[in-house]
């Protein structure tokens, strides 16, 4: 089914973007903790 295939790709793209976002937030928080200014 073509529709199912579209939704499968869509779901994977969403999951990847959420994971990348979470990773990015984690990276920023880590950066802040490593070089806290004042």
């Amino acid at each position: 089914m073509a529709k199912l295939e579209i939704y499968r790709k869509f779901a994977i793209a969403l999951i990847v973007s959420v994971l990348v976002s979470v990773g990015w937030i984690g990276y920023e928080v880590m950066l802040i903790h490593m070089k806290a200014i004042f």
Binding site: L4, I6, A11, A13, L14, I15, V18, I25
Partner: protein, 373 residues
């Protein structure tokens, strides 16, 4: 004139005003003064002192003066070992019973890269209600943009270019299959157009700020508004596609009003946060004020993501009635992604907010393409 091009810090017509009622009691004292200390962050250990290694004092108290370390009523600092001539101290004195003290306009050339700070300090209790008026001008080698913002100009220039490339690609695809275009795809065109405008506006905003030293409020307002409309539209599109709108079901039925309500609230919260954060602002917002505005946006954003994944799981389930095992797998997948979202760490402490462009901004446009393929 050539001097203007070099990096510098400048005081411009800074006036200190002390309230009239306090004046009577201080008439007798010789002269109250306000001291301006300019220092590089690495020299922060050179400022302040303590007699017995206790809490550091910036002002020289009579106890410390007795030890002979400093003169009473002035700022304690030692010359820097790495930057000769720094920290720099300037003084504005109230003569006799004057209510006003003026700091002469002055330009401090900056020859070394660093993070420079300016403290206005008074050690006289009679100056507790002091008012300060005037401006300080901070010039970097590349322009008036503050150091933490200067990479943003190039970033938004690049993003504008990227959006133009994306726009051309989308337009090409759109033209190729213009007979079968869905209304949804028109919305995606709108999102890409808004994104292009937003990025261009941010670029011009920072270019103007860099050139003049003042944030152009009009451009900021439109950049923020276009960006917020774009983000809201992108989130709503992803949500209704996840619900199966236009692909599985022709209408959303009773959900429409809920979607509109969430979208509207998200728009208001984001617009408020971004306007408060950017409109005419040069400094970072103070901690609590910002947190108060950040939480609604974060919660609404999370609500969108959760709703998207729940709807997606339902839609895929509907499409896959005959394969229950895969359906369960998908459900599991979505749920684990959900738990990731729920376990998001709190936003970074506000005082160290770095203004890194949000990845979220890229997400809206990126997903639209995947949706199309």
């Amino acid at each position: 004139l050539t001097f203007k091009c070099l990096p510098h810090v400048r005081f411009d017509k800074i006036i200190f005003r002390r309230p009239e009622d306090a004046n009577d009691s201080v008439k007798e004292t010789t002269s109250a003064k306000v001291q301006v200390l300019v220092f590089e962050i690495e020299d922060r250990e050179m400022i302040g002192g303590s007699a017995y290694g206790g809490q550091k004092a910036i002002c020289c108290t009579s106890d410390l003066a007795k030890l002979g370390a400093c003169t009473e009523g002035s700022v304690i600092y030692r010359p820097s070992q790495v930057n000769p001539g720094w920290p720099k101290l300037f003084v504005a004195s109230f003569d006799g019973s004057d209510l006003i003290a003026t700091l002469p306009s002055r330009t401090i050339p900056i020859t070394k890269t660093g993070m420079y700070n300016m403290y206005f300090i008074h050690c006289d209790p009679s100056l507790a209600d002091l008012e300060i008026e005037g401006k300080t001008i901070w010039k970097n080698p590349t322009g008036y943009l503050p150091g933490r913002m200067s990479p943003l100009k190039n970033f938004f220039g690049l993003m504008s270019f990227a959006f133009v490339v994306l726009g051309i690609y989308w337009f090409y695809q759109y033209m190729k299959s213009w007979r079968e275009v869905l209304p949804l795809q028109n919305c995606i065109t709108l999102v890409i157009t808004l994104g292009m405008l937003e990025m261009a506006l941010w670029y011009f905003e920072y270019a103007e700020f860099n050139e003049t030293g003042v944030r152009p409020k009009g451009i900021t307002f439109w950049a923020v508004t276009f960006g917020t409309v774009k983000r809201t539209a992108a989130e709503i599109i992803v949500l209704i596609v996840s619900m199966g709108y236009g692909v599985v079901t022709p209408t959303l039925g009773g959900l429409t009003s809920k979607v509109v309500m969430l979208g509207g609230t998200f728009f208001l919260a984001t617009e408020t946060l971004e306007l408060v954060e950017n409109l005419g602002a040069v400094n970072d917002l103070s901690g609590k004020a910002r947190l108060f505005l950040v939480y609604p946006v974060a919660i609404l954003d999370a609500a969108f993501v959760i709703w998207i994944f729940i709807s997606l799981a339902k839609t895929i389930g509907k499409l896959q009635v005959r394969k229950p095992l895969l359906c369960i797998l998908y459900y599991f997948f979505s749920c684990s992604a959900l738990s990731f979202v729920l376990a998001l760490p709190p936003p970074p402490p506000p005082h160290t907010h770095t203004h890194t462009p949000h990845l979220r901004d890229l997400r809206g446009a990126g997903l639209c393409i995947t949706d199309h393929s």
